[in-house]
Symmetry: D2
Subunit: 337 residues, 4 copies
């Protein structure tokens, strides 16, 4: 159940209102938007008479039941779209933010070269894997802490904020200088990790799991927001289907539905979704056209020699060409690239 408050209610009155509910055993979520402030109740609200609350409270404008299980990420509770600010970048309504970089950080030279190039092409955030989840224990597992150090260097050199995948909550200290924590597809329902990043005050990029529904993705985001961290970016990256010609099946309907049902920004990853370089540019254009707030694209200075996922990485020139194209298209969508 959500109560939309009247404009300009004093903070003390809101606190009193909230405390009243918590004393009755409900959890509450306070959502402060530019348009309105909302208080959402979690718990068994079946016996609450909404109209009675509205009539008897002097701070409530109106109330309604929320049938979805996700509350804090629900657009009904928080009507205006969340825009996340990280360094000079913005992610959310009005922007089409491009995150780019290699699957895996390999060396200082590699990451700095790629960082300079993608920045020059218009990327606003640098990605780079340091801890790599790999199906095989014998496959390259990433440069780990050393990789994070290289990534920090590239950030220092270019000013680009950085995003990297965290694999478990014991790594939180290591990731202190990482601007956006990525939760990978395989960890989308690693609930303890979700709770842990929910305790931070930095953006989290949450990727959809390979076999997870749109609703489950929203529920995982709810874990983070309910724990206190509202800065969640949702990322569609392809789901597993029977089709074998592509690595995964990009689900663009999910992007539209996530934007309709939640106020959180939504991006997509055409590289992991397809696994095929030549599919990345057309899919990137489709992702922009469908209304996403950005993309995450793998690039490499020498894809043929990449330690990981070379077949799906654009080289720096291909990325530059793609960005030129996306720039025109973003303008047509009234979005800032």
């Amino acid at each position: 159940m959500v109560f939309i408050l009247k404009p300009d209610v004093a903070k003390e009155k809101i606190d009193t209102f909230i405390m009243g509910w918590e004393q009755k055993g409900f959890s509450t979520i306070l959502s402060v938007g530019t348009e309105h402030t909302a208080v959402c109740l979690i718990g068994n609200t079946a016996e609450i008479d909404v109209d009675h609350v509205v009539e008897t409270s002097d701070i409530v404008s109106y109330g309604k039941r929320i049938t979805e299980q996700y509350k804090a990420v629900n657009r009904t509770v928080h009507e205006d779209s969340t825009v996340i600010r990280v360094g000079d970048a913005r992610i959310g309504e009005g922007f089409f933010t491009v995150i780019s970089g290699p699957c895996s950080v390999e060396s200082e030279e590699q990451i700095c070269k790629i960082a300079r190039s993608v920045k020059n092409s218009g990327a606003k955030i640098l990605r780079g894997g340091a801890f790599k989840p790999r199906t095989s224990p014998y496959a390259f597992q990433g440069k780990q802490a050393e990789g994070l150090a290289m990534l920090r260097l590239a950030k220092k050199e270019t000013g680009l904020p950085i995003v990297s995948e965290i694999m478990n909550q014991t790594q939180l200290d290591l990731f202190e200088d990482v601007d956006i924590l990525q939760i990978g597809a395989r960890n989308m329902q690693n609930f303890d990790l979700l709770k842990a990043v929910g305790g931070l005050k930095k953006p989290v990029l949450l990727k959809r799991g390979l076999a997870n529904t749109i609703e489950e993705l929203l529920m995982s985001a709810e874990y983070i927001v309910a724990a206190g961290n509202e800065q969640v970016i949702l990322c569609e990256r392809g789901i597993r289907s029977f089709e074998t010609m592509t690595r995964n099946t990009l689900d663009l309907s999910a992007v539209v539905l996530l934007k309709q049902k939640s106020h959180l920004p939504v991006i997509a990853d055409p590289s992991h979704a397809s696994g095929i370089r030549s599919l990345v540019p057309p899919l990137a254009k489709a992702i922009l056209a469908v209304g996403a707030d950005g993309i995450m694209v793998e690039t490499h200075n020498n894809p043929a020699k990449a330690l990981c996922d070379g077949a799906q990485s654009l080289d720096l020139e291909q990325f530059h060409t793609l960005m030129e194209d996306l720039r025109k298209r973003a303008a047509m969508e009234d979005k800032q690239l």
Copy 2:
């Protein structure tokens, strides 16, 4: 194995070349493009020495093995994209052709009203179901022959070519005046029907089955082309996945791959793919952006009262608005709407 012939070879020489292979037990496909003419061999070509053929024949420019099972629809055999002409409409490279109309033809008045309106908005082909494949025997099965008559009337009145779904080969006579025969998703591997429409000289719109791979779709198209009918339009319309929030999962990577691997035109159907009206416009834009040659969109003069699939149909005004948007976007893609 495909042999690309030298330019301007006399027809008799080609016939002799082909006959030579057929006498050795191979089937052949002759593919005449604007750039080159190709002869493709079907059968066990393992023991053919390609270089020897090229050296000893005076009409062969070069030859190569085709590893894919599809030959006649393979872009390797037929490099230039096929453009299908039906009435004033063109489907293929350089065009973004919009097919629109109701899920089901309901009455003369309904279909004519919709036809006039979608034509006015820019649709080039009218769709309308007369024979409806329905999961339940108790559901509305379409107006059948009467429905086809209504569709013809709408065609006469507006000049729009018409497309309608044929459910089995005994209906071929009934569909004589229908410009494009649609093979529905459930019939994509109804091989006898494929062979039957392969014997015609009119375009076939072949929809991807709910659980069929990209390769299987190409093989089904191969049935039609190998039987003699080169006018096949491929249609991605969503596949079945575990996601339940949408009716199906639109697979836009398939559109790109089909265009890469085959010379046939490829369209997509955002209405059946999503099953949700509000998803149709964003998906339509994504379909255009990803490089498809057109869309098939369900429209209805009164979706709330539609006998079939109302929830996914645009009303005529929504369709008009979508078309205005697509017109600008098609221009940016250098495509004619």
Copy 3:
């Protein structure tokens, strides 16, 4: 809505009762079981007062609403399990009927040899494909009419009833001597074919489609039964999932649910489900243990040389061994093999 009639009601009274409903615009299904007779109404029954009908009719014992869309195949309407009789074979409760034979009939010698052998091992019905649905137009399409003649010969020689796949309704005459018509997975929603076999008085073996739900399978069976043919055998044969190590994913929960929800016999096909010979015996045992009424197993006198699906066929000795094992297990289940 279904009305269970009192015992021993005169036929005229039932006819009058049925006619009354049909005059009000309902379709009806009369279901005569050993335990009770039921009349099922199809149509908008929302406004019917069940209690009022029961009170005012002198032939109705009780009535209830059926929420499922399938009525004629619903166990609620027809409580006792249907047992189908074909030649000396029985398919249904109390039996575990083994159908066996080659994927494809190849020659008189082949089919007769296999028929004699599988009969000797305990198979009760002979399968053999004459018209083969193949993904590729260049693959062997079956011996067709000639194959059916060979199958008839094997039937004559062994006395085994035969089952073979019919691919479209124009073939009905050709299949006159075939005891059980098989509708293949790709045709499960070929509704015109379902209606056509619904007009016959012979058993139909209906295979589940690769991407079809349990409910859709029941609805396809409903097409046949509603058209007048009650002799439908349902067959689980594996569905398509993301797993690539097996040809399909056998869904044994479906067998249990189909038996719970419908009165029709349910068998399963471990050969197509797995596509791997060594998986067939363990899966066959599991199919028996889970409560199915039979299996359909591919056998071949020389699997390595089979024209079709050799990799999943048992040789005749392997089949014999399997049958010895199944015989003991069937006894434990109190089922006749």
Copy 4:
């Protein structure tokens, strides 16, 4: 590449052999079976001449390449089936071990009552969730540490070894008294957790992920074994498909393939696979018939009041009846229940 050693080779010779390879940059896995001892090389073995090694070494009986990516869990490397011993229970060839208990530990009284009852019915291991991975942050998350204490009490009272799900590696200390660590489906590719439990000397029950292939499951097991812990039990628990009538789709072919490809014990979980109580007994019988080494079944003293997964739990009497049935069947399979 695997080298099978001659019988009765001295330990020092083996050590020397292994060290030789490690100095050349290979990792090695030493696998000591009852039949033979094997040394498996991990790394780029392309240039090793197997025959040359066999000829020149005096301790190698024969060698062969392993094409699969999993080595330590591969049956080629370790021919005889692994049997895991925990308390009085055995899991592996020759046994059909039943693990039972509630989805969630709720109270001392509840878990002890269930433990006594399932032990009396023949269960050999007690399951009970203390930390519960739940889709919603607002759902019951388990009794946590307190739940583990209750579980220990039930163990003490009945002597049954206990299994419970560990959600992340920071919990290892908490789980010290838990006999078998369960890695849940959502954590199957939580590689850091796999590495952590790989460092222990206690059995790990590894559940297949909802969208993970058989090969991926084997690779995750490889993580644990390669890290030094050979006691891994694989568990098929249903995969996600398009079917919605069941919670998941039980994949029994996977059980057979896992047993063929790996030496590890394989069990299955009919409760989570189906999500429906009435399906659990027939699926349990099928799991036994297909060749699994055991089942994990949810039971509850009062399913209607269970805090979690009541709809799929058997009550204690239903479980008892199932066990009586399984006992007869296990005898027929020459397995000890």
